[in-house]
């Protein structure tokens, strides 16, 4: 059992939770996730870890309300118990020991790149962060990410803050201007990660993306999260979630993520959330 000890509204639909879960923090490493379930009738869903603090025994999560289960999670308040909170799951992401890493966080992904940035800085790697959102007030977690970045770049789709355009555009601009990146890590919506992969591919810049397919157990038991990497089937829960961005079959991943859209619509209709 884990208890919510802090909650912040990052945007209208994006919430940050600090959860007291000492056991889960003990072995946590950058790039991992937790699986949680908030009611006896609830789904098991994976959520990237935004921060872990072994000394305090806390895990920080950022959740965007997009459907039935994320809506139930976002409705949790300080003091609430999370019925099931299991992790850390997935392989820690392999991080370089030197060079210049660029971290790209789209939307809620700005949280998930934070543990990578902190660890890279601690190793002496130069860190550039690129964070994007639709508009200025949707830019999240600047106060968390900026202090662990040597260079911090904001992009907005409407140009209300920072670079006018997508994170992938800003990334290309920085590469062209000779930023000298030696590695790239991107977390965010699938179209954004795919765009990042297409930007870095011609430059041969090693790029990792964090895939977020539908999961049930999160421990390698069901295979529902399978993705095709370089022509081979992998399980995102135990082989990932980070994979070589240039080898992911994005079309298949996008199709599989839409397996239950009809059911989701039904569930949201019943709960009075979403469309």
């Amino acid at each position: 059992m884990a208890t919510v000890i802090e909650k912040q509204d990052l945007t209208e639909i994006t919430k940050l939770f600090v959860v007291d879960a000492p056991r889960v923090t003990h072995n946590a490493r950058p790039g991992q996730f937790v699986v949680l379930r908030v009611s006896e009738t609830g789904e098991r869903v994976p959520i990237s870890i935004t921060n872990f603090d072994a000394a305090a025994g806390t895990i920080t999560l950022v959740v965007q309300e997009v459907g039935r289960t994320s809506g139930l999670i976002c409705a949790l308040e300080v003091g609430d118990e999370i019925l099931d909170f299991a992790g850390p799951l997935g392989k820690p992401v392999a991080l370089p020991e030197s060079g210049h890493a660029v971290l790209v966080g789209g939307g809620f992904g700005a949280g998930a790149v934070f543990p990578l940035a902190r660890e890279l800085r601690a190793r002496g790697v130069t860190v550039s962060s690129i964070v994007g959102a639709r508009t200025a007030e949707l830019v999240i977690l600047r106060e968390l990410l900026e202090p662990v970045s040597d260079h911090y770049h904001v992009c907005t789709d409407d140009g209300s803050l920072g670079y006018h355009g997508f994170v992938s555009g800003r990334l290309e601009e920085l590469i062209e201007s000779g930023a000298g990146f030696t590695s790239c890590f991107a977390v965010g919506p699938m179209p954004m990660m795919r765009a990042v992969a297409e930007v870095t591919r011609p430059y041969g810049l090693p790029t990792m993306v964090s895939l977020d397919p539908i999961m049930v157990d999160g421990t390698g038991m069901c295979g529902g999260c399978r993705v095709t990497i370089d022509g081979h089937t992998k399980f995102a829960c135990v082989d990932g979630p980070f994979f070589d961005a240039h080898k992911v079959d994005y079309d298949e991943a996008v199709a599989r993520s839409k397996m239950y859209v009809d059911e989701e619509r039904l569930a949201c209709g019943l709960a009075g959330v979403g469309s």
Binding site: T41, E43, A86, G224, R226, K258, M259
Partner: protein
């Protein structure tokens, strides 16, 4: 027409047309009169060979004699001496390959229905709980960690708790039971039975911790070095689904049997949207494989409303792995069996949904390494089968999480933990293993037998260690 079994006393069951539409337990069990009648078929052999066929050596002759004499309490006590989960075993043991295979009347008649009698006795005891409280046992020093709450873990936990050790069972999922919970459907093993057995263990002092993934949340080394456990039993099972790696396997609508059954059993997806986890509801389902899990899959597909549900198997009926009873039940419920049929690819539409299978007919050639005749594709016999749901039930591999996270724990090339067959001892001192994580996918009762042997070995190990202090 149901298949007729003239010699065994029939066990009452729900009619196929009724049970196709619900998830209730199909076989309703013997009445007292039927149980006594069946028990009277037992010859009470001087040398009961059936007991040799039982991996946990249940005193079969004795318990059947008690049933014949209507001493059901005595029968229950006899079984419990060797098997703490008889209500489960009486339902899921492949008896025709174990105890009943050795019954002396087999050949001349149907064997005595040992499985149904075991189930009857276990259910009788559940309905008539004994007045005697659980006997308090003297506590012993020593904390033991059990990794995984499936059949081997529950058995090891029970034996060690009875010896007076402090036992903690760690389960990765949110509910206890392992394959008994996520794999075997309600209509074959009601979950209330698993709940009762778990409650019984809790009353004996066993502690259960769910949502703890050993190898991730905490490692075996941390259990031993930081959390003060003096021995560990690993019973993490064969949880990783096998795929054929043929084209189209990742289309929407193609499930592993593990995922399909976990959604239905553990997550109650059959009750969506009252439960939040969905499962696709098929019109035409194809289940690949012919073992117990395949029968579970095809019968679940029928209950989810499939108009047609096929078993597609590359060998013949004779080589199928499923228990006779479940095969017969699936046939009664309308499953269609495509023997000697090998899928070669899955066909999808432009949105990535599965729409069918391309198959080729096979014929049986020489025996292969499994001892069964090898299926050989027949050239020119290709054909297409429609399906909007495919369930792949071709077996499972050992779960790699614990071996990956544990140094110096030897595994074989298949990823199974190497353990002594008599004791479950691994390459690490104080670390024991048993069940499917050692043998590869096998049966509930074999896993229970392994859990029992390991518990005895752990007791011996800790006793020696205590003496040496």
């Amino acid at each position: 027409m149901p298949i007729v079994y003239p010699h065994k006393t029939e066990m009452p069951a729900l009619e196929p047309d009724v049970r196709r539409h619900n998830w209730e337990e199909v076989a309703t069990g013997y009445t007292e009169a039927r149980a006594v009648a069946e028990a009277q078929r037992c010859l009470q052999c001087q040398d009961p060979r059936c007991e040799i066929g039982c991996p946990v050596n249940v005193p079969i002759r004795e318990f059947i004699r008690c049933v014949a004499l209507r001493d059901f309490d005595g029968a229950a006590r006899a079984i419990r001496r060797r098997n703490l989960l008889p209500a489960i075993c009486g339902r899921v043991c492949p008896v025709e390959h174990q105890c009943e295979l050795h019954c002396v009347i087999l050949g001349k008649q149907e064997p005595v229905s040992i499985g149904r009698l075991e189930r009857f006795v276990a259910d009788w005891q559940r309905a008539h709980p004994s007045n005697g409280a659980v006997e308090a046992v003297a506590r012993r020093p020593g904390k033991i960690a059990i990794v995984g709450s499936g059949p081997s873990g529950l058995t090891a936990a029970s034996d060690l708790a009875q010896l007076g050790y402090s036992v903690t069972v760690f389960e990765a999922l949110h509910a206890i039971g392992g394959v008994l919970r996520y794999g075997i459907p309600e209509y074959r093993l009601p979950k209330s039975i698993v709940d009762e057995d778990v409650e019984h263990l809790e009353q004996m002092g066993v502690e259960f911790q769910t949502d703890v993934i050993i190898g991730k949340t905490i490692t075996i080394d941390q259990l031993l070095d930081e959390e003060g456990y003096s021995a560990v039993f690993i019973g993490t099972g064969a949880g990783c689904p096998v795929f054929m790696e043929i084209p189209g396997e990742n289309l929407k609508g193609v499930y592993s049997a593990n995922e399909f059954l976990t959604r239905v059993n553990l997550m109650h997806a059959f009750a969506f949207p009252a439960f939040d986890t969905p499962v696709l509801r098929p019109k035409k389902a194809a289940v690949i494989g012919a073992g117990d899990t395949a029968m579970d899959g095809v019968r679940a597909a029928i209950r989810l409303g499939a108009e047609e549900a096929h078993i597609v198997y590359r060998r013949s009926e004779q080589e199928k792995g499923a228990r006779d009873e479940d095969y017969r039940r699936a046939a009664e419920e309308g499953a269609i069996f495509d023997w000697l049929t090998l899928p070669t690819r899955y066909l999808g539409d432009e949105d990535g949904w599965v729409r069918g299978l391309e198959c080729i007919r096979t014929e049986l050639g020489e025996p292969d390494e499994s001892g069964r005749r090898r299926p050989v594709p027949v050239p020119g016999s290709e054909f297409t089968m429609e399906a909007d749901l495919v369930v792949i039930a071709l077996g499972t591999n050992p779960n790699p999480l614990v071996p990956q996270a544990t140094e110096n724990l030897d595994t074989d090339p298949h990823g199974c933990i190497v353990a002594d067959t008599a004791t479950g001892a691994t390459s690490r001192e104080g670390v024991y293993a048993g069940g499917d994580i050692v043998t590869g996918a096998a049966t509930v009762i074999l896993a229970m037998g392994a859990g029992r042997k390991a518990a005895a070995a752990i007791h011996e190990y800790l006793t020696e260690k205590e003496k040496a202090r």
